[in-house]
């Protein structure tokens, strides 16, 4: 003879695995049901990924104007915290000026592959943070992440200019020695 209550309690965990459930299919359906949000997100990622390639490499070299993603971020930051929005615009301008300078100096990706790779990573991090901003506009840590990414990008560009200058100076010194 068994005590039904005790028996059921001691076998409780078995009750979570009785019926067949196609979890992958359910997860697929779940994603499908939430398509507007997800699609927008992944569509955005796709568009942005193409943008990264053009932005991260080409714009730095060819002095492209301020990026659309910066304007989007600025708009959102202005709504959330005008002080941060102002800081962001300052960083965007700095990055734009650095990009222009790099273009004028004729720096190519082949010269600094690691730094260019880091720029790409930073751009993808920025896109990820932007995507989060879509969903969590009230999250202060995300705004800080966005600004941190800008600062990191500015530092990488600064390093690139510095290293290029250093190389140029070394070359000039070597050639002057030969003369």
């Amino acid at each position: 003879m068994i005590d039904l209550e005790k028996y059921i309690r001691s076998h409780r965990s078995e009750l979570d695995d009785i019926e067949d459930l196609n979890i992958d299919e359910m997860w697929g359906d779940f994603n499908e049901q939430n398509r507007p949000k997800s699609k927008r997100k992944y569509g955005f990622y796709l568009a942005a990924a193409i943008g990264i390639i053009l932005i991260g490499v080409v714009s730095v070299l060819s002095q492209r104007p301020v990026l659309n993603q910066d304007e989007i971020i600025h708009e959102k930051l202005t709504q959330a915290d005008p002080r941060l929005a102002e800081e962001q615009m300052g960083l965007v301008k700095m990055i734009s000026d650095q990009g222009a300078l790099i273009g004028q100096m004729g720096i190519e990706e082949a010269a600094f592959p690691e730094l260019f790779q880091e720029l790409k990573v930073l751009d993808s991090l920025q896109l990820e943070a932007m995507s989060d901003l879509e969903n969590y506009q009230d999250r202060k840590n995300l705004w800080k992440t966005l600004l941190r990414n800008y600062k990191s990008k500015a530092r990488v560009l600064e390093l690139m200019i510095y290293e290029f200058d250093k190389k140029e100076n070394e070359l000039n010194y070597e050639s002057s020695k030969q003369i």
């Binding site: 076998h11 009750l15 459930l21 979890i23 994603n31 995507s131």
Partner: protein, 181 residues
Amino acid sequence: MISKENQLLINKSLSGNRLAQGDIYRKYVKAMYHIAVRMVVQPSVAKDLTQDVFVKVFEELDRFRGESTLGAWIKRITINVCLNHLRRKGILQIDEWDDSVLQVADESNDMIEEIDMKVVHDAIKSLPVGSRTVLTLYLLEGYRHNEIAEILEISVSTSKTQYRRGKQLLKEKLKSIYHND
């Protein structure tokens, strides 16, 4: 209360990481579906409600404070979603039950030695909604009668009598199944 693994999944999910959300979903969906199907009975409805649960989970994850385990938090959402569904459909009507109608036979434990839990699961699903809900909350999900009374807006004594009734009906169903075999 939160394991390192879950904390990591929560953090990633909060930053919109779909893979982490998928991990949370896969980890808990089966248990939540089984709670739902015992409460609403129809599998298709239970599946829909389970999906609603996880929409809510990911929407409200930033409100999870870690005061309970993540599983317990999701379970509470599941129960609320199911109860709201039953209320919306006008199904969840729990009558005050006269304890005297319960038969004395209830207290006997002349059950067989071992029961297949699938049989228990199906038998619970076949109970009337009132006693099924109370029995599920009390016996399976660990709620106390005063908590059940508050959730279902019934008296504590009604919760207790509905539970006894549910248990009695469950025993009768199990006996009839096993004695017929």
